[in-house]
Symmetry: C2
Subunit: 326 residues, 2 copies
């Protein structure tokens, strides 16, 4: 045992904490005030957080002993990456830890979007069994456009492949991913987003939110879409121009949307009775909304927690921090 | 054109009717009384129906010119097959026409069962975004038992395969199907239903209802199941012993059930306000019910209608009925 102090500021799966206890003294502290955090930071060597705690310049300056920051998951909008680099403090992440869960959730959305699932369940509860009113589609006869072939998008293509639907894939990075699916006879790479939207019955988004992609699904792109499009977004809410989506639904360009990620995001801890969150998509008859849960499976959280703890352990071993006292 | 009279007694997709019009005079007549049907039958050469019209001995005896019966779909409980054979009247069916739709629907049920889908949609509609209360599972980390490797079961296995879950498959017929999945490293054949239920987190049924299979999911089998089982039934309601299912839910053996086919079946045309149908599964918090719709997609109905019409055309050509006048 050594004198490393590990401060866990957001909830992670216990499996990782168990492993971290082998490398240092773990302090699990949620919902602290800024002052309380800074007080703990004085003696902290390793900080672990997720997407809520802001690891900004001030935070970092208040942590004189900080060796390492761990992000339990992917997405680092809440970290001052440049300042961490300047201070030579590594930021460890788990970029693929929840990709499988997100891909599975996407396939679930795609199937629900063509099977009238929610409508059917609600009707049967009211003793309405008129299945003729619920006739859906067969995925095998449709075209699915997958935008982005990164960690999640490529897993979506793999899972879609045996359904026999035509798959159109677009990725603006000319990297190796393009060749991964040449073995699938029903998967085709298209050279532009416009072509993908023009030829797809269902479009699902799997790109990160950055200056190029924010608002990419807008009026202009949608004007080129196949009429009656089903849009799935389990990536980031900011990829959509909300107003343009509503207009496209109004015009019948978009038939239905399945949205896991809203922008702006609601609070995920507030009680419904005190929740003042408003969003034009809420309770829209053509939009099905989930609470940014695609990646939130027990299994993914466990994998992320363990993976991060293992990375931290390896890093410390490599730097000999586990053999020497700080 | 010849003098063949074709009587269509239940709704089929127009594409098949269009084709049938090339081989004879098509009469589409729904909701007839028995008397009216028998009156039409006097001059009918070909009858087409689905699952509602009873083609029994009396029906057949009232059709002196009957050459052929077509069942738009699979399942022939409503046909007196022996008497048709005795009268040498062929019965054409489309046994695989809706298999893909049924397999897709099953994957949808499996994913919904582990992602808290319905609960999430309902909560968000009430502005409750507490995703921590909805943490689901990742299919990749689970074991799915597929009972029956016939037309639907084998398609379910193919679609499950890339999800990376462990797949246990059981088929009591020692036919070629067993070898189909040896290429899938995550698919294993088990020698008994008991073993499948013991080791699976999710079990999905794909067997026909016959003397051997009716009531097969009963107290005895469930007593061997893994605690917390998710049960999917898109095959036939009679495979389950309803009372034993409810008891297993009560005991926590079954965590949740997704049921497309109830026994006894409700009427699929009745208005909810006049529907007197009762079933112990209805509005049960752990049972999600669909109105026997797994196969009811626009695409499957079109395929079935066209396939049946083509079979009829081929049969008539082979027998030279299309060249000679009846």
């Amino acid at each position: 045992m050594n004198n490393l102090n590990i401060l866990v500021l957001e909830s992670i799966h216990p499996s990782g904490i168990k492993l971290l206890e082998k490398v240092g003294k773990v302090n699990v502290k949620f919902n602290l005030s800024k002052e309380e955090i800074y007080n703990f930071l004085k003696t902290t060597h390793i900080v672990i957080c997720k997407s809520v705690i802001n690891v900004d310049k001030e935070f970092i300056l208040n942590a004189p002993k900080l060796l390492l920051v761990g992000r339990a998951g992917t997405g680092i909008d809440n970290f001052d990456v440049d300042f961490l680099k300047f201070k030579k403090i590594p930021l460890l992440t788990v970029p693929t830890g929840n990709s499988i869960s997100a891909a599975e959730f996407t396939i679930m959305c795609i199937l629900n979007s063509i099977k009238n699932t929610t409508k059917a369940i609600n009707r049967v509860q009211k003793r309405d069994f008129r299945r003729d009113l619920l006739q859906g589609r067969e995925l095998s006869q449709m075209t699915v456009g997958v935008v982005g072939l990164g960690n999640v998008g490529k897993l979506v293509v793999e899972r879609l492949h045996p359904f026999g639907c035509k798959i159109l894939a677009f990725d603006n990075k000319k990297n190796g991913n393009q060749n991964n699916f040449n073995k699938f006879k029903n998967t085709f790479h298209v050279e532009s987003l416009e072509k993908l939207f023009r030829d797809s019955d269902i479009v699902t988004l799997h790109v990160t939110a950055n200056n190029q992609s924010i608002g990419m699904v807008n009026k202009d792109l949608l004007s080129k879409a196949k009429k009656g499009l089903i849009l799935i977004n389990t990536a980031r809410g900011r990829l959509l121009n909300n107003e343009d989506i509503l207009e496209a639904i109004e015009k019948g360009i978009i038939k239905e949307a399945f949205i896991d990620t809203l922008y702006p995001e609601p609070s995920y801890s507030e009680l419904p009775e005190s929740c003042a969150y408003k969003h034009p998509f809420l309770n829209h008859s053509k939009i099905t909304i989930f609470p940014h849960m695609a990646a939130s499976t027990e299994d993914a959280q466990k994998r992320i927690s363990l993976d991060l703890a293992q990375q931290i352990k390896l890093f410390l071993e490599k730097k000999n921090y586990l053999e020497t006292s700080i």
